[in-house]
Symmetry: C2
Subunit: 312 residues, 2 copies
């Protein structure tokens, strides 16, 4: 079972109803806890040799990355991150030399966005792994569901640099790789502030964070809404050292991908100026359930790499 099949399989065991507004096909589960307040609940794990390599990731960066992958899920719903629980699996006894920077990485990244660690468990395990379960809150959760044909598609930062790092480190020594690329992979910025404001001003009709790649994550939005999209190739913000392919299909960008009604573009521009943050309009939602890449008025269907479910 690959990830797509797993997500599809899992759905039959997930509960939705009463307070649980959303559990399936989302970055976070959404629970209504009072008239005007929703809990967001997410979890993410990192496993050594699968998600990180201690040869080029420091323990501080690892802790930060664990926090960020969870924070980005909260950002993707327009939420405010609040409280986390850590699980640490380690084959060898815990040593101060590495647990101190690891904990500092987790706790400092959470704190930057107003969130706190409130519990933790450690287990013996032949694989070194970390799991964080994170709660957030919002008055207005932004779901994947909501985009309709005509809505404009935006991303919140240049793409592909995290993926470019993985390519460059095969060719070069760590010292030779530009700092911006290292940062994009090892400590990307979660888009909490932008997500919160899009929620506050009700500007996004749908939203997701790009963790598996622009095309895959855009397709998730499309599937959820039974729509398609046209992407303008020249407008896709390709990171400085990245290729177009990496911008389209590289993962772990932790950018927000969201859709906005045409009539709200001016408000979005005001938000962008206020935040002093460039937002990139890359395409438009269409009725036809395909993703087209448009260049010089030439249109071709494109398919997320490695995403076997796309063709169906």
């Amino acid at each position: 079972m690959n990830e797509t099949e797993w997500l599809k399989y899992l759905k039959k065991y997930l509960f939705e109803g009463s307070e649980v507004v959303k559990s399936k096909n989302e970055d976070c589960a959404v629970i209504k806890i009072s008239k005007n307040k929703y809990l967001l609940f997410t979890t993410d794990a990192l496993v050594e040799k699968v998600h990180f390599d201690l040869k080029y990731t420091s323990f501080f960066e690892l802790g930060k990355k664990l926090a960020i992958s969870n924070l980005s899920d909260i950002a993707a719903m327009g939420g405010e991150p609040r409280w986390g629980l850590l699980t640490l699996g380690s084959p060898s006894p815990i040593q101060i030399s590495w647990i101190d920077p690891l904990m500092e990485g987790i706790v400092s990244a959470l704190k930057t966005f107003g969130a706190y660690l409130i519990g933790g468990d450690t287990v013996k395990s032949s694989a070194f792994f970390l799991n964080l379960a994170l709660l957030g809150e919002t008055k207005n959760p932004i779901l994947r569901k909501g985009a309709v044909p005509g809505d404009l598609i935006f991303v919140s930062k240049p793409l592909g640099e995290s993926s470019a790092f993985l390519r460059l480190k095969k060719e070069k020594s760590l010292e030779e790789i530009p700092d911006t690329i290292k940062k994009a992979h090892l400590s990307p910025e979660p888009e909490i502030t932008l997500g919160k404001l899009l929620s506050k001003y009700k500007l996004a009709t749908s939203m997701i964070d790009i963790s598996d790649g622009l095309l895959i994550d855009l397709w998730r939005i499309c599937e959820e809404n039974e729509v398609g999209a046209e992407l303008f190739e020249e407008k896709i913000p390709v990171g400085e050292f990245a290729t177009l392919e990496e911008a389209l299909s590289g993962g772990e960008d932790y950018a927000l991908l969201f859709t906005v009604k045409k009539e709200n573009i001016k408000k979005l521009q005001e938000l962008s100026s206020k935040l002093n943050k460039k937002l990139f309009q890359i395409g438009v939602i269409t009725e036809k359930k395909k993703i087209y890449l448009v260049k010089d008025s030439e249109k071709k269907v494109t398919s997320p790499k490695g995403f076997d479910h796309f063709s169906s």
Copy 2:
């Protein structure tokens, strides 16, 4: 760093304050979300060859056990379990043959107590592991803090049988081991109903679930309240096939250990009759910060096995 040292170490990174009523030294973190409502937040992981052996644990039982270890943490605070997120780490691709019974085990155990799975993640990992993060709710969380000298000590079921299973399976084939012992280890009953009622009627001054052994968990209550205890050896409910040593120090009983004011004993008896459930009064909280085992008016200091922190 052993578990005791880890728990002590972790405290400096855990936040308490504002809505977070309790994060340190508890079975669950406690968050006040409205005037009359608290969230309980806990997480527990099971790792193959450390916490379970697939030779004598079925995938259904494994799923159930994962749910139960978390449910028991919610029970220990007097809470009502609500929503869980699963993380699954697997070295081999997911197969329907084992994922179906595993998921059924988790979901059915949660559902028995009114809780639901609302999300899940799967990761590749060289160790097979499961993590569940579980939320519960309560109007009146029962903390470890609260016991004072003179309070009577109770446990909610016979002890040591889970541990006896681990001994017996070395000596006998699985078929020769009595069913009650198998059940005690492989699918113990979490004490959700009792916990909820103790919370509702405000009968317990402190509470914990016995996951690491009676003496260790009693010592945790003692430490938190700067008190000690006298245990009456003859009153300790030793499971049918267990030894006294297993009842005192064997883990994974998932019994509730709680303290009650003398003046509330009658109300507790009424509760016990109403539930048709025997509760065992095993001792009394004392001022002197030691645990004594009392037998025939002979008193001796006892120390939780493998609990290095006890002597200090």
